[in-house]
Amino acid sequence: MGHERLWWRVAWRNLWRNRLRTLITASGLAFGYLGAVLVVGVSDGMMVELIENGTRLMLGEVQVHSEDYLPERNMHHTIGGYEGTDLEIFINRITSQEEVSAAAPRVYGGGLLSSGEETQAALLMGVDPDREPRVTTLLSRLVSGRTLVAGANEILVGDEMAEQLGAVLGDEIVVVAPSSDGSLGNDLFTLVGILDTGIPAIDQNYTLLALPDLQFLMAMGPPRIHEVVITVGNAKDSPRIAGALREFLSDSELPVQVSSWTDLRPELAEMVSLMDASHFIIVIVIFGMAAFGVANTMLIGTFERRREFAVMRALGTAPIGIGRTVVYEGIVLGLISLIAGALITWPILVWWHNSPIDLTTVISGFSVAGAQWRPVLRVEYSVQAPIVAALGLFLTSILAAMYPAWKATRVPPADALAD
């Protein structure tokens, strides 16, 4: 329609009547866009870092247990019961799922560690030294020594445990643990490595043995395991993948429970949800501030053009036509700002994603909800956040134009012409 083109033309040219003001307003919106995308990106980076550190270190993203193993962690409740299961077939069955990257078996027990005169209670964790590094980073946290060799009666302890025991690499450590047959198993293990995960609860309490060595100590046959730890492509997809795996394994004879990290570490999941929700609030605050800036600028512009609006009314423009020119200015301003925002945001986003900012010289790491957070500011980006931010910016500029547009329609023509 002829009118529409006229209103767009008037809106476009009006924007450029005061270039500096338009450029400042557009810059405000563009930097608002940058801020919103970066805040979400940094927050996403922290979330991914938390999830990765919370899952990749030891938890894994999905775990499979006997259906009655959790929460008591009774040593007798192994997958497949007392008979156990064919480990290779079971693991292969799990890894046959498309979204499962790797899986590793584990056995758990509790016991006492003695070295010289010192004795400490410990959580014993039997891992497959070959498979475990594919699902967690625990074995990579060795600060001295080497990893385990299965069948060699070797042991890894956390640095704080080693300190409490007064043990050093090469020392012999006596491990005493209740066995599944009711007896008390004990054996001599050589300390071959010391771990430092940065999480005191692990470094003080956990002791790693090779899976067959712990099974032997606890009088459990090779088919008996307590847990299969699974890693998947994207930790955020874990609940969905766990659901699919649960359905897939429900066909088997083994009554198992499949849990995602969100089930196993609800406090971490809640923290992630909280951060996710805080994005929304931060973005609303950023665009809210931008909206007031735009509305203020457009109100000033509207006030300056009262006489022009009155002339347009006198010439036969309906009030809605006047309002449209102002809203169209908002839309054009939004588009300009969006283009400028995208042009400044994307290079920064990609650069930051590829070169996370290392703050280790300024602050040390800390643990949040049981997950270690490294002081590295990384940015994660998805297609979703910039699109949502773009829509936010666009809506902001339109909503910010609404009140000035309404005011413009209310300009009394005779009074404005007399001004």
Binding site: M1, G2, H3, L6, R9, V10, R13, N14, R17, R307, E308, A310, V311, M312, R313, A314, L315, G316, T317, A318, P319, I320, G321, P412, P413, A414, D415, L417, A418
Partner: protein, 235 residues
């Protein structure tokens, strides 16, 4: 002769402390179609208020206004806008061209609002520009035109859609005598050629002299209403 404008007992009272201002006090008058009428009077006599009420830009406190056969005082803002678009053209003292549009775009503004196709719009405006001495200035923005040129563009904008009534508020106030004479020539020619009714508010003796009817207002009332019998377009 048909009536272009009729007002009956028209009042405009501005609420103001301590006493309301009675800008127009019960004016009843008729203006015939095709007439060339000047409304004169000192500042504050109610000339501009009368024009604004007749043009539907402000509502009377009391009384009625007919434009042709339509009573406008109860019309909605939207209907008034449509009525102005179809029947009324405005010429203002300070030209009031839209600064972001070129001379041609300003002149074709009402045609555009009426949905006239581009070719037809351009043809009409260019013919009119040619007639009133604006050829070659089509692409200039108002800031690049002289006062006289701007006022001629404003007149072109007012008359291009052939409205029945042109309301001109002090159209020559900011022009020198030559530009004023030229503008009056243009308006008289349009009045004669198209039968367009002109109603001016003015202080300018040159406008009064060339009007066919002179209504003089004082303190919001008609002091005199005289018909004049000459009409002279400058050679």
């Amino acid at each position: 002769m048909k009536t272009a404008v009729r007002t009956t007992n028209l009042w405009k009272i501005y609420p103001q402390e301590p006493d309301p201002v009675e800008a127009v006090q019960g004016i009843s008058t008729e203006i015939e179609t095709g007439d060339f009428v000047a409304m004169a009077g000192p500042s504050g006599s109610g000339k501009t208020t009368m024009l604004n009420m007749i043009g539907g830009l402000t509502r009377p406190s009391r009384g009625q206004i007919w434009i042709g056969d339509r009573e406008i005082t109860e019309m909605s803002d939207k209907d008034l806008a449509q009525l102005r678009l179809e029947r009324i053209g405005f010429v203002f003292q300070s030209y009031n061209l839209l600064p972001v549009l070129t001379a041609l775009e300003n002149a074709e503004f009402t045609l555009l609002l009426s949905g006239i196709p581009k070719d037809e719009r351009r043809k009409k405006v260019l013919e009119l520009f040619n007639k009133i001495g604006l050829s070659g200035l089509e692409d200039r923005k108002p800031g690049k035109l002289s006062g006289g040129q701007q006022q001629r563009v404003a007149v072109a904008r007012a008359v291009v859609a052939n409205p029945a009534l042109i309301l001109a508020d002090e159209p020559t106030a900011n022009l020198d005598s030559k530009a004023s004479a030229d503008l009056l020539d243009v308006m008289e020619r349009l009045n004669q050629d198209h039968g367009t009714t002109f109603l001016f508010s003015t202080h300018d003796p040159r406008v009064m002299e060339r009007s066919r009817r002179l209504i003089t207002l004082v303190d919001g009332q008609i002091e005199s209403d005289e018909r004049r019998n000459h009409l002279s377009v400058s050679p």
